[in-house]
């Protein structure tokens, strides 16, 4: 049973437009949610996180929204840039530090 799901394997957007990546989870015990970006042959790099007590967190072009009642979070990238093209992973963490990752969404930003 996959506790964190990213239902869209891929997303393609035009440069300058908004990218919206989605993530669903099933475990109500998760306390933190994080987004990571990954380029080929590299380790993931942290983008942005949100605590379960908040519903929005912004950092520059990146905003994460959390809807606890729907067990859904999303990452908005505005405006999208070609350098944003990568695989994006959603992750959820318990208060004990145990992490669960989704399978990732490949974002392609076209110039």
């Amino acid at each position: 049973d996959q506790q964190v799901k990213q239902n869209s394997p891929s997303l393609s957007v035009q440069e300058g437009r908004i990218s919206i990546l989605n993530c669903d989870y099933t475990n109500s015990m998760f306390d933190y949610f994080l987004w990571y970006k990954k380029y080929p042959a590299e380790g993931p790099t942290f983008l942005i996180s949100i605590s379960s007590i908040k519903d929005k967190n912004e950092d520059g072009r990146f905003t994460v929204f959390l809807n606890k009642s729907a067990k859904h979070l999303s990452l908005h990238i505005v405006p999208s840039q070609p350098g944003d093209s990568a695989v994006y992973f959603c992750a959820a963490m318990t208060n004990a530090g145990k992490s669960t990752f989704g399978d990732g969404t490949t974002l392609t930003v076209k110039p």
Binding site: A41, G43, P44, G97
Partner: protein, 114 residues
């Protein structure tokens, strides 16, 4: 400040052989993690540690062992390599939930078991 370093970068093992994947961090982080990533999949947690001397199982611990004798090092041991353990292995570290949840990842070790 090197962050998280992993050795080796790539290794080919024969079935039944054993090896240790090394992971070191220089950020004085309390938490350390081992993940594996199979092609087209997400990262699966193998083991994690909340501090020296304390380890716990993740989603896919079978076939692996870990130890955490120091804050800096978190080696992952494969005792009897199997083809199903062919994967890319990532080590990560963080301050931990409530302080800074973000995990900092190493570059990965690509393991091929034949």
């Amino acid at each position: 400040n090197a962050g998280v370093t992993q050795t080796p970068k790539f290794r080919i093992l024969k079935i039944g052989q054993s090896m240790t994947l090394q992971c070191t961090q220089d950020m004085n982080h309390n938490y350390m993690y081992w993940y594996r990533q199979d092609p087209g999949m997400g990262l699966k947690l193998i083991y994690y540690s909340v501090g020296a001397g304390i380890t716990d199982k993740g989603e896919v611990p079978n076939g692996y062992n870990v130890s955490r004798s120091t804050t800096e090092d978190f080696p992952l041991r494969l005792e009897l390599a199997a083809p199903s353990q062919t994967s890319v292995y990532f080590c990560a570290s963080s301050w931990g939930p409530g302080q800074e949840e973000a995990q900092y990842f190493g570059p990965g070790t690509r393991l091929l078991v034949l």
